[in-house]
């Protein structure tokens, strides 16, 4: 019971910070807008997607990319708290050993909700539409947020390993860029050369993208079925990754936090 209170107290602290540091919020909101507009207008005319408009194809990819980046807020927040000694203060208190990280990852869901909303609005402006049922679309949003939550735990663990907030930013970009680009986010996986294609097919960023496209009804009829199992069962495959990531990284991060060094 007290663990729940501790989590809520920590989450509440982070929410107050979200409200009072609008600079972060502006970045959270502007970067998806920028990506939608850049890709839609810069690549939109030169990338040809069979049977579909590129913008329709693109938005789910940007959703996936943005929730990956959402994890960096978790990493940056924890790294900053470490640097300022606040983590040490928490560690010296008789509070739940998992509350600081759980409270942080939960409050960061707010960032992801906000950026998903902004992305959807921007998408609507450039011609993207939800063409499936509302329930499917809600399931699509939920899947994106759950995936984002899992990524937050990876970043939380990385943040506890590195010495400073600057390092965590660079480190997470090194992970995020290959994962989001060697995927079916911005081009179809089938168009990639040999090994990259295989990587893209098994990349969870591809499956979350594919699942969103399906759930938002953005795959036009007549599009050939993907050949790889992860993309044929995109939602299931994504959920497996979510469970595996949280199952590995949450205990690792909490142990790292709790252990005296």
């Amino acid at each position: 019971m007290s663990a729940v209170t501790d989590i809520l107290v920590i989450a509440n602290r982070n929410v107050i910070k979200i409200r009072r540091v609008p600079e972060v919020l502006i970045f959270v909101l502007l970067s998806p807008i920028m990506f939608v507009l850049l890709f839609a207008y810069v690549f939109g005319n030169s990338i040809d997607i069979q049977g579909s408009s590129y913008r329709e194809f693109l938005i789910a990819g940007i959703f996936a990319q943005t929730v990956m980046f959402g994890g960096t807020f978790t990493g940056a927040g924890i790294a900053e708290d470490m640097q300022k000694g606040i983590i040490d203060r928490f560690r010296s208190l008789p509070m739940s050993r998992s509350a600081v990280l759980t409270g942080r990852t939960l409050s960061d869901v707010i960032y992801n909700v906000m950026s998903v909303v902004i992305m959807s609005l921007t998408g609507l402006l450039v011609g993207w539409r939800i063409r499936g049922s509302i329930l499917d679309a809600l399931a699509g949003y939920l899947l994106l947020l759950v995936f984002a939550y899992a990524i937050s735990w990876i970043m939380a663990y990385l943040a506890l390993l590195v010495p400073s907030p600057e390092v965590i930013n660079n480190a997470s970009f090194m992970v995020i860029f290959p994962l989001t680009f060697v995927a079916n986010t911005f081009v179809p996986a089938e168009s990639l050369p040999g090994p990259l294609k295989t990587f893209a097919e098994w990349n969870p960023v591809s499956s979350v993208t594919q699942a969103s496209r399906e759930l938002f009804g953005n795959i036009p009829p007549g599009t050939p079925e993907p050949t790889a199992w992860p993309l044929q069962n995109a939602t299931l495959y994504t959920l497996i990754w979510v469970v595996v990531i949280i199952g590995i990284f949450a205990p690792l991060a909490i142990r790292r936090y709790a252990q005296p060094r």
């Binding site: 007290s2 209170t5 501790d6 107290v9 920590i10 509440n12 602290r13 107050i16 910070k17 009072r20 540091v21 300022k84 000694g85 606040i86 040490d88 203060r89 928490f90 560690r91 010296s92 208190l93 008789p94 509070m95 509350a99 252990q259 005296p260 060094r261």
Partner: protein, 330 residues
Amino acid sequence: MTPSNEPPPAIRARGLRKTYGEVVALDGLDLDVPDGTVLALLGPNGAGKTTAVSILTTLLSADGGEGTVAGVDVLAEPGRVRERIGLSGQFAAVDEVLTGRENLQMIGRLYGMTRRAARRRATELLERFSLTEAGDRPVKGYSGGMRRRLDLAGALVAEPPVLFLDEPTTGLDPRSRNELWGVIRELVADGTTLLLTTQYLEEADQLADDIVVIDKGRAIARGTADDLKASLGRSRVEVVLADSAEADAVAAVLAAHGAADAEVDIGPERRRLSVQVDDGVAALSGVLGELRATDIELRDVGLRRPTLDDVFLTLTGSATEPTDTPEVAA
């Protein structure tokens, strides 16, 4: 262990060891802080002070040795130790974005207080630390002294019986330092056991019942402030001349009043001369009396009390790393 009727010390450490790769941070440190007393851990940067505090407050594991705080084993039951301690670190660990009041309420809630109790306690502490007016402003706008006071208040939220303060005044201006000393004295008067680390002999002198001087992870001296000063550093009589040509004459006067085994330090510019003395007041008035009889022009005369550097010189034969140790003016 022999059973005894005396209550166990509030803080007890035996043979604490910690190494970071090749660097030995603690090399078998023993500490005893009886209930309701103040111990100052005095030493230069890198002596192992923060490491010792971190181990006793469960933040760091020891490579060897044992520690108990309020009768609880630090290594075996860290959770129970955390219920009994307050820690205020070297860097003011308060959230800059939150207000002072929000910081204290948050800490209260994390100690398991109800919302109402945490709110009441925050108000009390803001009042006690003269932060009531600033209490509802974000900490970002606080001065260094205000942050330290808030950080200290944070350590006191749950009225812990044992308090650890790691260099509470490092980097503060003299006025804020004096204010904080006043607050710490009040705390101690209420019976809180305190382990304090500091680089300043004067701070240890002002606040502590007992002092342990540490260097390179080991205790190199322990005792009361008076013991240490009597045995480790002697006061110096210092004279600053207007004209360096008179250095030799003045040196002779100083030598006559200095301690039997002391040498007069003439200084590189031959204008600032000093000598260690046994009885500061007698030596100073003796020197002044003799110099007044001559027409030697003096810029300054004073009795300089031993600094951490003097103590270290006496103890180790080597000076401390250059630090911002304040000179104790006479």
